[in-house]
Structures are given as C-alpha cells and as structure tokens.
C-alpha cells in the first residue's frame, strides 16, 4: 500500500534512523516546520498554510514513480566495527585525551571523561565473571546491537567500574535486553524516561552500594559506575544519540548514572524486595525498571510526617494524576526506612500495603470521562478495548468488567503487585514514587551470577 509519513523537522534524523533500522530506508517522508507546527497545532487555521505549502509535494510523493533503489533497496550488511583503535600522544595523558576526543566525536561516550578501554583493562574487567567473553547477553534496541560480555566489559571500563561490579552490570543488561523490558520506548521516547536500577541481596553491601542518605547522588563508586556502565552500554550497543534517535525532550534526570541504588535490607522491617519475588535471602539480584520524573514525598528533616500520611498523599496524587491507564501502569515506591518501620508498626506488611494502595487508588467509574494519551477513546472505551484485546490479563479482566459500571471503582493498575515497594533512603528521609506508563512488565529482576571476586553472586 503506497504511503507517506508526515513528521516535524525536529524528527528528521530520527525518522531516517527508524526507517533504516526496520529495513525500509526508502520510505517517503514530508517535514512540517517544528517551529510552526507545534505552536499552531491547536488551531486548524494556523495549520492550513502548512498543509497548503506541502500539498503539491505530498501529491508528488504519492504519485512519482519509484527509483530502482526505492523499489529494491540494496541489502544491508552486518555493521561491523574496527576491533580496536590506536592513538599516539606525547605522553599518556595526551593519548588519553585523544581517545576521549575521538570517542565523543564518534558518539561512543557520554560527554564526561572516560577511562580508555585498553585490552588489559577489559581483560581485567572480564576476570570479574566466569562468563565467556563471547556470550551474548541480548540485543539492545533500537538498532538491536549484539551485547556480548566483552562489549559490555569495554563499556564498563570506560565508565570507571571495578571488575567486581561486572556481574551486577551483566545481570542488569540481561534485564534491559529481556524482550519484556520496554527498551525501545525507554531509549527513544520524547517522554524522557530514566531507567531505575535496584540492587538487592548480600552483594549490595559487599560492593559498597549506597542505600542511605544520598543514595541517588554522587560519592559512591558502585552506584555511580554501575549506572554509568549501563548508560554507556545502552548508548553504544543500541547506538542512540540525542536529537538523532534518542528524542528524550528534556534528557534524563540521571543522565549519566540512571537511578542506581541498593535496597536497605538491614533497616527494612520487611523481607528484601527480591525475596518477596521468590528469591532466597542469600541470592543477589538486580532489578531494572523505568520512570518518569519521580515524586518526592514526606517531610524529610523539615516537616512532620507519618507513614500513613505519606501513603495517603500517594493515593491522592495517583487518583488525581490524570489518565487512568491500567493495562500498562506500574509504580515503584521507595520508602525510607523510618517510614517503612512506622508503617510496619501500624500493622502493614509489604503485601498488605500493596493491596491497600491498589484498593485506595481505584477511581470512581463516573470520573473516567477524559481522553487517553493517544487516539480519541475515552478512558472507559480504552479500558474496555484493553480487556478485549488481552492487554488486561484474562485473570484480572472480571475485576475491571465489574468496575466499569455506574458506582464502580476502577483499579489504576492491573494488580497489587504492580506497586513495587522497596526500602531505601536516609533517616530522616524522603520517599520516592517512580511511575511508568509504558508496560507493567518493565520491571525485570535478574539474579547476579558468575561472580569471581565477591563472596556473593557466585551462583
């Protein structure tokens, strides 16, 4: 079926890149000037001149015969890279600076200085795992780059990670490349989502991950460089770049290290998060998820708070957050230890808190009248379609069908388990609510294994 795609001029490179990634480099695209389209898109009278200006080109694109290349594009070749690069300088520092300049110019770095990934350092990194250098961990979207252990090790060296961190990085990459993780969306969306990386189990303490005051901040090499190794691996193996095919409009709040922290299992009143998923306490895991800008709650050192008050605040914010999008919504609630203890003292366990949040955030049917993010369905129509096409699981569908009637209260997530509860932060502390609308499978927890330099993570 012949077709034509309208885009805005800001997405020129993105459209070219996406077309090529999907094997259709010849698709015909027409650009609308972004500086006129976005300010005017609410009013048809402002869009009319834009449509008139491009009308003849549109007709031409739909009727002009194809070139031979458009009809039968040349097969693409496996994109291979030079295995290594050589630079020379007057001394090591000058050579290292040349590596930095070259890597950034090639879009292989993140803008901060990198450690030159020499064969010796990469070999040392790989000594942190029993896994073979050529083992394929997965493919990284949007370009489906092959993530081998060795390639991830190169990026880990660049990030400044220690070899003993490497099994954590590999496990996280297994999560990101799991087909259920929403990686294309996270890597490319204008929504500017930031990956969330949570380390659980004994390896967190052994490697010195921060789970207390400043857990999302600087100063802890494990948090910073594991996060940065993942940043660089996704950038280089998925081959993304801002304004080209990473269209996060604001960039990401934690652009260089993601939200990388450990759960404070020692001060948590509940079983560790990974144990709640079925892992053993002695297991170590990494959970990868995704979030828009997190909501900060509680009083910190300034204002009084109670655990119940924080939960009520969360309920109120979720219920008034806007569109109800239950088929794919997920939340990660990070409670600081004092808050978790206060809630535990009032009888909550993790499961009952999940169920409380699920029940209390239900939205009255009569409130569901607004349009969904995309398309023209109302929330009610959209949820019904989500049931019909299986995006809401069959075992949860009866609950939604029962709720979608006058007097009903509609859940904002598919099940209580879509509220993931983790304990971390300072004392005093704030609580964080990470929210992601993309898919409710985005949270992927993987066991850390194959470690050689730590006691934990050897399984």
């Amino acid at each position: 079926m012949p077709g034509l795609y309208f885009i805005t001029s800001e997405f020129r490179e993105d459209a070219k890149s996406a077309a090529k990634d999907r094997g259709m480099p010849g698709i015909r695209v027409l650009e609308l000037p972004a500086d006129k389209y976005y300010p005017g898109r609410e009013r048809k009278e402002e869009l009319r001149p834009l449509a008139s200006d491009c009308f003849d080109r549109m007709a031409d694109a739909l009727t002009r015969p194809l070139t031979a290349e458009e009809a039968r594009p040349s097969p693409m070749q496996m994109q291979r890279q030079d295995a290594h690069i050589e630079v020379t300088g007057d001394d090591f520092l000058e050579a290292a600076e040349k590596v930095n300049e070259s890597f950034l110019a090639s879009r292989w770095a993140d803008g901060l200085p990198i450690v030159p990934p020499t064969p010796k350092l990469v070999k040392a990194m790989m000594a942190g795992t029993t896994r073979s250098p050529q083992e394929v961990i997965g493919q990284v979207s949007p370009k489906n780059g092959i993530a081998t252990v060795e390639k991830i090790a190169i990026n880990a060296v660049m990030a400044g990670a220690k070899p003993e961190y490497f099994p954590v990085i590999l496990a996280a990459m297994e999560g990101f490349t799991d087909k259920k993780y929403d990686l294309t969306h996270v890597q490319a969306s204008t929504g500017s989502f930031t990956p969330v990386v949570v380390i659980d189990g004994p390896i967190a303490q052994e490697l010195g991950f921060n789970s207390g005051i400043g857990m999302l901040g600087h100063g802890w090499r494990a948090n910073s460089t594991v996060g940065r190794a993942l940043r660089l691996s996704l950038l280089n193996l998925g081959q993304t770049w801002p304004q080209v095919n990473d269209m996060a409009l604001t960039g990401r709040l934690e652009a260089y290290t993601f939200f990388t922290f450990a759960e404070d299992t020692a001060r948590s009143p509940w079983e560790p998060y990974h144990v709640s998923l079925g892992y053993k306490p002695e297991d170590s895991t990494v959970t990868v998820a995704s979030s828009g800008n997190p909501l900060v709650l509680g009083g910190g050192a300034v204002l009084p708070w109670t655990g119940q008050g924080v939960i009520d605040q969360i309920v109120a914010r979720i219920k008034t957050a806007g569109v109800v999008w239950p088929h794919s919504q997920t939340y990660i609630l990070v409670l600081h230890p004092d808050c978790a203890v206060d809630l535990a003292n009032h009888g909550y366990i993790r499961k009952s808190l999940q169920e409380y949040l699920y029940e209390q955030t239900r939205v009255p049917y009569e409130k569901l009248a607004g349009p969904v993010f995309f398309g023209h369905d109302t929330e009610i129509e959209f949820i019904k379609k989500s049931i019909e096409d299986g995006r809401i699981r069959a075992d949860r569908a009866p609950i939604f069908l029962e709720a979608l009637k006058p007097g009903g209260r509609v859940p904002v997530v598919q099940s209580p388990a879509d509220f993931h509860i983790i304990v971390a932060g300072g004392s005093p502390g704030y609580d964080l609510l990470f929210s992601y609308p993309g898919t409710n499978w985005a949270n992927q927890t993987k066991p850390i294994r194959g470690a050689t330099l730590t006691i934990a993570g050897r399984g």
Partner: protein
C-alpha cells in the same frame, strides 16, 4: 597499557571499540505509487498525538478540493499501539483504502 618509545618519547595507546555488531534487517522496497490521487480512497492515519487530527482534517479538506472524486477515510491509530506491535493494526489500515498518509510523527 602504554608502549612508550624512549627515542620518540611518545605514548601509544590501543583501545577497544565499545560498539557491537548490528545484524542487518531484511530490506524491503516501498510500494509502487499510484498514477494519480484522483478517484482513490485515501486513508489518513492519525497517530493520536495532540494536533495530528487537526492537521489531517485540514489535509482532508484540501484533498477534497483538489481531488473531488477521491474519498477520504479518517483512521485513528488504536491507542497505545506502538511501532513494536504494528503488525496488529497495520492490516486494518490496508483494508480501508488505496493509499495512506500518516501523521504527525514525532
């Protein structure tokens, strides 16, 4: 890590490439064009982003003015159907007409 020549007093650094191999996708040509838009059934696919329906409405008016024998089908893309599950909804576009115009992409 460095190989320094005493004579030249230079540092020579060998570093590994951080990018991985990219398996090539199967390449596909685009569909042959139509000879004219006149008399054709044109499907305007609204991707649901804010403003797209306004733009496509205007385009529909212009198409009707220039090609009175063409018919226009407005097709709102199903909500939350992304590029990753195109196969699920694209065939329904194909059933609607002779050619499509998709907008407005970002």
């Amino acid at each position: 890590m460095t190989q320094t020549s005493a004579q030249q007093a230079q540092a020579h650094l060998v570093v590994l490439n951080p990018r991985g191999e990219i398996p090539p996708p199967v390449t596909l040509g685009i569909s042959p064009r139509v000879a004219s838009l006149d008399g054709k059934k044109i499907v305007l696919v609204d991707n649901g982003k804010f403003g797209a329906s306004n733009f496509l409405d205007v385009l529909a008016e212009l198409l009707k003015g220039s090609y009175p024998n063409a018919s226009i089908v407005m097709y709102p893309k199903p909500a939350a159907q992304t590029i990753t599950n195109v196969p699920k909804w694209y065939p329904t576009v194909k059933q609607q007409g002779d050619l499509f115009i998709f907008g407005v992409g970002d």
